[in-house]
Amino acid sequence: MPDPYVPKEAIGHGDGGTAALAIGEAESLERRPSAAPPSAGPPGAPVGKPRSLWSDAWHDLRRNPVFVLSALVIVFLVVIAIWPQLIATGNPYRADLAKAQQGSQPGHPFGFDTQGRDVYTRVVYGARASITVGVCATAGAALLGSLLGGLAGFFGGWGDTLLSRLADIFFGIPVILGGLVFLSVVTSTTVWPVVGFIVLLGWPQVSRIARGSVVTAKQNDYVQAARALGAGNGRLLLRHIAPNAVAPVIVVATIALGTYIALEATLSYLGAGLKPPTVSWGIDISTASAYIRSAPHMLLWPAGALSITVLAFIMLGDAVRDALDPKLR
């Protein structure tokens, strides 16, 4: 459409486009007289550099305090999930019943739990289970969901219809009830049954998002242009559609990571998630909840750690969405 509405053009969606034209003009074949003053050129240096949409997003993210804060928290959590010994020298399993339910004391800032185990050490070691479940479940759900959703969106047809109905069925499963039923029959004490269950419930959400964004990306002229050049489906999907459809999936996955961690804790609290001897915030919260009046510290520390973790991931997801979605700019 000719002349698309001035103000949008004038403020330029926040892209460097309008500013960049000045250079393009100066250097295009229809060269200006060389006496042109420098002020007609680029107003600043950055417009001259090649700037991909990703680097634009990264540029935005770095300046977003919410992102910086949540990313720092997450990096810290990941580090202690891998090397808890860095900040906790004790043993999370060592029990000293004589100190059961005692409060804060030197060397044991968070106090002791019902079995006389150090709460601080257990909170630190608990990060591993939460982060493992969160990351693995998210990775699984995102991979499975975007693969199925992406293919369904690209090829359409009966496969698409079938997948959509299948996703509806999984959406219909009540999360907690399903977890109690499925996981109560599992005897493994590893994190994998929980991860598997969350993936099973989580992929439809990702696949819907992925399908939608692939359908949108597929209609773009550049996909048609590549097709007209003779590009095959593989190239269309990997080179043209996936890079343009992945942003919403990343956003939804980041936010989902937080909720999956909360879900793991909930299931563990109900006794259907992780099982002792795995150290988990959810299990510890569950045990401590019986003593909330007499020894609230046993509950507050793991619960606080859980809340901060979940919040950090959700805020990260929000920040990433703001950076990746140019419409919100």
Binding site: M1, P2, D3, P4, D15, G16, G17, T18, A20, L21, G24, E27, S28, L29, E30, V47, P50, R51, S52, L53, W54, T161, N220, D221, Y222, Q224, A225, A226, R227, A228, L229, G230, A231, R235, R239, H240, P243, N244
Partner: protein, 344 residues
């Protein structure tokens, strides 16, 4: 322009899009007759302009020509070979010679790829055209050919203006050294002052590379400027076709006459003594076109015959003996000449 042998011969091309109903068990309830029997020739170095209003099927025609859609029936011969019958590798290699330039410079370039990757992609798809080591140089050459700085190779599309993006799209279309370029409204999204630059570029490239163009547009002035021959489309068919002089100065089809008379002319003095034909109503839906002549519902000359017999695209009987410019194909039972474009 020396017209040689036909490079492209299109015969009775038809594309119907089925209209379906139901989710699981689809049943066809009708068809959108986007292209409904189109025939034309395109010669080497020639520009065929295709004009028409929205819904006339000109964009679908473009997509059929470059192989983005498969025709329902009809044939497209490229150098004597029917390319609608080809598939796989054979089709891919024919496609090299027929490239497309898109309308919207904002959506036709992948925002995640650099300009170098975009223009170089044709070489990745057809690696036999250029050895890997040679590609960067070729891309830079192409940038220069379309009037952009070769140093822009690592920039991203959003760093360019609309006109510059269209140049990038043209460079991509040129990469494989095609013989034919199908341009679907290549300048209609651009500002007036930039349009002329791009039109000039297309003309210059045609001379330089001996290209043939199928130039699709709704702007009749631009089409006249760039085309050797023109086909006027209405509801999936060609209503009238001929040289620019025959169509603009001696139109014989009432639709062409109405279309030309409605074009606003940038000359207020012509306002007074212009023959304006105001059509009533809108273009009928291509899902339910009128019987007989598709234009009869808006035509002031329509008679019962028009509803019964589809007028063939041929030189009308009344002009068959004529040697003047009215002697050209026009799909009207009651063709007559009428001057609607004021000449100086």
């Amino acid at each position: 322009m020396a017209p040689g042998e036909p490079l492209l011969e299109v015969r009775d091309l038809v594309k119907h899009f089925p209209l379906t109903q139901g989710v699981l068990f689809r049943k066809q309830i009708g068809a959108v007759k986007a292209v409904d029997g189109v025939s034309f020739d395109l010669r080497k170095g020639e520009t065929l302009g295709v004009v028409g209003e929205s819904g006339c099927g000109k964009s679908t025609l473009a997509r059929l020509l470059v192989g983005l859609e498969r025709p329902t029936s009809g044939r497209i011969h490229y150098r004597g070979e029917d390319i609608t019958a080809l598939s796989g590798r054979a089709l891919t290699s024919v496609r090299r010679n027929i490239q497309m330039v898109f309308q919207d410079p904002y959506t036709s370039l992948n925002p995640r790829m650099t300009v170098g990757d975009i223009i170089g992609e044709p070489y990745e798809i057809h690696p036999e055209v250029a050895p890997r080591t040679d590609r960067r140089r070729r891309v830079q050459e192409l940038l220069e050919v379309v009037g952009l700085n070769p140093e822009f190779i690592n920039r991203y599309p959003h760093q360019f203006s609309g006109g510059q993006r269209q140049r990038i799209g043209i460079a991509r279309g040129l990469a494989l050294r095609p013989e034919i370029i199908v341009a679907d409204e290549p300048v209609s999204a651009l500002d007036v002052s930039v349009q002329a630059q791009v039109v000039n570029l297309l003309e210059q490239l045609q001379d330089e590379f001996d290209l043939s163009y199928v130039f699709i547009a709704h702007d009749l002035s631009v089409v006249r400027h760039i085309s050797d021959r023109i086909a006027v489309m209405y509801l999936g068919r060609i209503a009238e076709t001929g040289t620019d002089e025959q169509i603009y100065d001696h139109p014989t089809h009432p639709y062409t006459q109405a279309l030309l008379s409605a074009v606003p002319v940038p000359d207020p003095e012509a306002r007074a003594h212009r023959d304006r034909i105001l059509l009533s109503g809108d273009v009928p839906s291509p899902a339910d076109p009128p019987s007989g002549c598709p234009f009869r519902t808006r035509c002031w000359k329509a008679r019962p015959l028009c509803a019964e017999v589809v007028p063939p695209l041929d030189v009308p009987p009344e002009f068959r003996e004529s040697t003047g410019p009215a002697h050209h194909a026009s799909a009207c039972h009651f063709a007559e000449e009428r001057h609607v474009v004021p000449s100086e």
